[in-house]
């Protein structure tokens, strides 16, 4: 099965790139029998994540059907999802003092 990304569960809002992807590439992924295709809006390298649906600022970002953090800005389908637009909600000793 030729694919460019992996989606873990059907509830996930993102996929992990299994090859280096360039802006404009079509990333094909399988979820069971379903084929999902996303047009890349930016370069995303192997092992990094990209959105497979639009995510609003303040929403939880979902992988493994669980939250992996909160979006700090709006993210659209095909964009890189990582520390620049997602913040962890745990272990935040820094937040206690704000």
């Amino acid at each position: 099965m030729e694919k460019q990304g992996v989606i873990v569960t059907k509830n996930d809002s993102l996929a992990t790139a299994t090859v280096d992807l360039k802006k404009g590439d079509i990333a094909k992924m399988f979820l069971g029998d379903e084929v999902i295709e996303v047009v890349m809006k930016e370069d995303v390298r192997f092992g990094h994540k990209f959105a497979i649906k639009d995510i609003k600022k303040g929403e939880h970002v979902i992988k493994y059907s669980e939250s992996i953090g909160t979006a700090t800005q709006d993210i659209s389908t095909g964009e890189h999802v990582h520390v620049h637009n997602v913040e962890s909600d745990r272990g935040r000793g820094d937040k206690k003092h704000q």
Binding site: M1, G47, K63, G69, S88, R90, G91, G93, D94, K96
Partner: protein, 385 residues
């Protein structure tokens, strides 16, 4: 299923047969290492503690040293102390002797300096090494195996491929009556509710949640942002965005079996099955704890690559990152990257990994053993005074 192992006087089974040169404190650490270098078939631990520690911290170091000394992969022990340290050499000697294991003790002060202690130590260890070389393996049941599970240098392939592969192997072992230990409490933060659901009863589930809450509170009490420490810069470079994401990937190592209970660091499980041990995310401290807890073999998943071994237990390293396997083929034993590319399933690689574990139990040496990696580090829970 059977494997060939060394039956010890306390009934436990080892898959290696070392003479352990056991330093009880940092002051005798160099001497212990020097003795070990001089004796074929011996091993040693790196002990940078063992004195001027207080309370729970002192007890933890002593427990880790003793439990490492009574480990079934060890056939005989030479306890090596300075003579005045907090982790008293005589106490360590006595606790090991109680289990029926061959043990002797020397101290630098007692022998009159390191040169004389070296000569005596090498002489004793040489005798032990020859005695152990006559020991024969016997057939043992796979249920006597304790498997330690670790992940380090994680990236996104860890959660997608290498950790679930580990989970399949763990499930197979537990199904056959064996024991498996999941570790690294920090790396449950964000996934603790998923883990707690698998406790065999409410008490165990609550213990798991308390364990993780305690860990997160310690981080928060420092007034620091846990990020940068966890996930590490390497994790982030590899695509992991948050501790939650890392943890959700990490917990896949434990497969689907129910959790029998929570172990404190370096505690030996009293029953069989799947356990959680409270260890930090620092790989070497974590592996040191699980091996002290009796794990005869360790599987270690890595995304970015790591060379880590252990003085007593073979550490089998695997990765789901094709680039990492090619880049660090000298150090990584097992490649499961075909799961990521879609050419192999998690189930088939998990079964292959289990076969590899059995081969290592039967004598196949890992790359870490071949390259003499003996990373060892006792978890410290308070400052020295």
């Amino acid at each position: 299923m059977k494997f060939m192992g060394y039956r010890r006087n306390d009934g436990k089974v080892g898959i290696r047969n070392y003479v352990l040169i056991l330093a009880t404190s940092v002051c005798s650490n160099k001497l212990a290492e020097d003795i070990s270098r001089a004796v074929e078939g011996s091993t040693h631990i790196n002990n940078t503690f063992g004195c001027c520690q207080l309370g729970g911290d002192a007890r933890l170091t002593l427990k880790t040293i003793i439990n490492t000394g009574i480990h079934p992969n060890v056939g005989a022990v030479l306890v090596v102390g300075l003579g005045c340290e907090g982790a008293e050499p005589l106490e360590v000697y006595n606790e090991i002797k109680k289990t029926g294991k061959k043990v002797e003790m020397i101290t630098i002060q007692g022998e009159g300096g390191t040169l004389k202690a070296f000569a005596k130590g090498v002489s004793i260890s040489r005798k032990f090494a020859q005695e152990l070389s006559l020991e024969k393996k016997v057939e043992c049941d796979i249920s006597e195996l304790i498997l330690g599970m670790e992940c380090g240098g994680s990236d996104t392939t860890s959660g997608l491929a290498s950790n679930p592969t580990c989970g399949v192997a763990s499930d197979i072992l537990v199904e056959m009556g064996g024991t498996s230990i999941l570790s690294e409490t920090t790396e449950f933060i964000g996934a603790e509710h998923v883990v707690a659901r698998r406790g065999i009863n409410e008490k165990v589930s609550q213990e798991i949640l308390n364990l993780v809450r305690g860990c997160e509170e310690r981080a928060i009490a420092l007034g620091e942002d846990i990020r940068g420490g966890q996930p590490t810069p390497g994790n982030i470079e590899g695509g992991l965005t948050s501790i939650e994401e890392k943890s959700l990937g990490c917990i896949h190592k434990s497969g689907t079996a129910p959790f029998q209970g929570v172990l404190q660091y370096a505690d030996i499980p009293a029953e069989k099955g799947l356990f959680i041990m409270d260890t930090p995310g620092q790989d070497i401290e974590s592996i040191t704890g699980m091996v002290a807890g009796g794990a005869q073999v360790v599987i270690f998943t890595t995304g970015r690559g790591t060379p880590t071994g252990n003085p007593l237990a073979p550490v089998i390293k695997l990765t789901g990152n094709f680039h990492t396997f090619k880049n660090m083929e000298d150090n990584i034993d097992f490649d499961v990257s075909e799961i990521v590319s879609g050419h192999k399933t998690i189930k088939e690689m998990g079964e292959k990994l289990f076969e590899e574990i059995v081969e290592v139990c039967n004598g196949k040496i890992t790359k870490a053993e071949a390259l003499k990696h003996k990373e060892f580090c006792i978890y410290k829970i308070a400052p020295t005074f």
